[in-house]
């Protein structure tokens, strides 16, 4: 089982895509193992969608190759694609079909046998919360439901690899939460690649993050790596001086954020929250806010994608 859990499902080597003189994606390497959820981040036009199109065989790479479960997309596209489920930016739905008809068609396209069709349909609809709308026309559903139909289409044949391009665009906050839960569930039995602009979303569901800027991979780390150095936000009714906070045990420094709030940087490996609470109680600072704040993806993202020099490095 252990060796199976480490099975490499997607492997891309030196993936390059040129549109005339512009290089949309430049020598991108990507490895995805079973059970991983990879978040693909990047500013607009960074090459996220191009990368996903190449991974799913919708676009031929100018250079490099994609292997899905060890099968080359270039040499055996049909076999490689059979292990894939893909939701593009625009859900590829037919508005004139009902949800059941549409999903049945997708299942057939992906080679689901006729006898397994009813089961596949039922489980995909259950997973995506579509059980009640099976008989409705896709075109009459709201954008959020159409998006779910798009996701259902990508998982109906239970592919080992699911690739979702901005799956939560156009959804309301409750639907976004549901889709996130769904993606986390998918991540247990499938490998998922997910692209998004919404950083907290990636932070919430992904086990690994890849940031692309100008077609280059500028960051590729497990999610845990971004959570190493948490800082602490503290807010007070009667705020102390920053130096007083910096004197507390385990605190490396404190900088005021305005409104009597402070950003407290802890010493390596220390969690100063308890000490801050104690100090606040002793000195009657009127502690009203205290929480750890992870170094957010946003900070990493902005840092890596704003400066030209850094991206080129």
């Amino acid at each position: 089982m252990d060796t199976e859990a480490n099975e490499v499902l997607i492997e891309a080597r030196g993936l390059t895509r040129r549109y005339g003189p512009t290089v949309a994606v430049n020598r991108l390497d990507l490895t995805l193992r079973k059970g991983e959820i990879l978040g693909l981040l990047g500013p607009n036009g960074a090459g996220k969608s191009t990368t996903m199109k190449m991974l799913t065989g919708n676009l031929a790479p100018s250079d490099g190759d994609v292997r899905i479960k060890g099968v080359s997309m270039r040499e055996q596209p049909k076999l490689a694609k059979s292990s894939l489920g893909y939701l593009p930016e625009q859900p590829p739905v037919y508005p004139e079909l009902t949800v059941d008809e549409y999903l049945g068609y997708c299942a057939g396209l992906h080679g689901v046998a006729r006898k397994d069709l009813a089961d596949a349909l039922a489980s995909a609809k259950r997973d995506c919360g579509l059980a009640d709308v099976g008989h409705r026309l896709v075109g009459n559903l709201s954008k959020g439901y159409q998006q779910r139909v798009g996701i259902a289409q990508a998982i109906i044949h239970r592919p080992p690899v699911v690739i979702l391009d901005e799956p939560t665009v156009g959804l309301d906050p409750i639907q976004i939460r549901e889709i996130r839960t769904l993606i986390a569930e998918l991540g247990r039995s499938h490998s998922v690649i997910l692209s998004s602009h919404i950083l907290p979303e990636i932070q919430a569901v992904c086990s690994r993050v890849m940031i692309i800027a100008r077609g280059l991979v500028v960051y590729n780390e497990p999610m845990a790596a971004t959570q190493g150095d948490a800082s602490v936000i503290a807010g007070f009714k009667r705020a102390p001086q920053a130096v007083q906070l910096a004197g507390i045990d385990g605190v490396d420094g404190a900088s005021p954020l305005g409104d009597d709030r402070f950003l407290v940087t802890p010493r390596k490996g220390a969690d100063p929250r308890e000490a801050i609470a104690r100090a606040a109680a002793q000195n009657d600072w009127g502690l009203i806010e205290l929480h750890a704040q992870q170094r957010t993806l946003e900070e990493i993202f902005v840092e890596l994608t704003s400066g030209d020099l850094r991206a080129a490095a």
Binding site: N58, S82, Q90, Y94, L97, E101, Q153
Partner: protein, 247 residues
């Protein structure tokens, strides 16, 4: 093969779920019915004068000859959406990321349209059928005409499918396929001009000249092969075009 049939079935269903198909069928049936009644009335008047034309000549010959012009107008309307609309709405990605080859996609779509064309042929067959209770028809003649119509529409559809794969605007696809078909159709007028070199070639390539013999009840293999080759050429071009799109 299952993939082709699956795509074809869904395509056929989607064609008939759109009001366009029903509107087209209604208009075609109305116009051909109108012409049919006119022809029958003319025939009745002419037979009183002792004409030796059979009723099958009128139906299979004149009616189906007239129908070709109408079909030239409507088949581009039926094929315009096949790829252009899918590209516009992005649903083409579904086919491109599914484990099916481009050939299967193209053949599936084509078969789906052939399903629609089969319905048109059935409607065309109903008119001579309505005469069966009152007179003896030359069924071989009628059948040859229907086969001719089917083959002609098949060729139209293949060309329309190709043009649809070139653009993302269904209306442009319709206009362009109509233009393309008309040019191939009219290439036989070059054959009437003695100053044109290889004029026989143009006459041979014309879409409509091969229909003539079938319309007259002559089932010649060469004509049938012409329509199949014509369709195969455009289907192949469509596959090439879709392949280029990925590169």
């Amino acid at each position: 093969m299952t993939a082709i049939l699956n795509i074809a079935r869904t395509e056929w269903r989607r064609i008939f779920l759109s009001p366009l198909a029903w509107a087209v069928l209604a208009v075609v049936q109305f116009i051909t019915g109108f012409v049919f009644i006119n022809l029958i009335a003319q025939y009745a008047a002419a037979s009183a004068d002792g004409s030796d034309l059979g009723v099958s000549d009128v139906v299979a010959g004149s009616l189906y000859g007239f129908a070709t012009v109408l079909l030239l107008l409507i088949i581009p309307l039926m094929t315009m959406r096949l790829f252009a609309e899918e590209r516009k709405t992005g649903s083409i990605t579904l086919l491109f990321s599914a484990p099916v080859s481009l050939t299967e996609i193209v053949l599936g779509k084509f078969l789906g349209v052939l399903g629609f064309i089969a319905v048109v042929v059935v409607l065309m067959a109903l008119m001579p059928l309505s005469l069966a209770w009152s007179t003896d028809m030359d069924w071989g003649r009628v059948a040859a005409g229907l086969v001719g119509l089917f083959l002609l529409m098949m060729a139209f559809a293949a060309a329309g499918l190709f043009v649809s794969s070139l653009t993302r605007e269904p209306t442009i696809a319709a206009v362009a396929s109509f233009g393309l078909l008309l040019v191939i159709w009219l290439s036989n007028i070059l054959a009437y001009n003695d100053s044109v070199p290889f004029k026989e070639v143009f006459s041979y390539l014309s879409l409509i000249d091969h229909f003539e013999s079938l319309r007259r009840g002559v089932f010649a293999t060469a004509d049938v092969v012409y329509y199949f080759l014509f369709s195969a050429l455009f289907l192949w071009l469509t596959v090439l075009r879709l392949d280029i799109e990925r590169n």
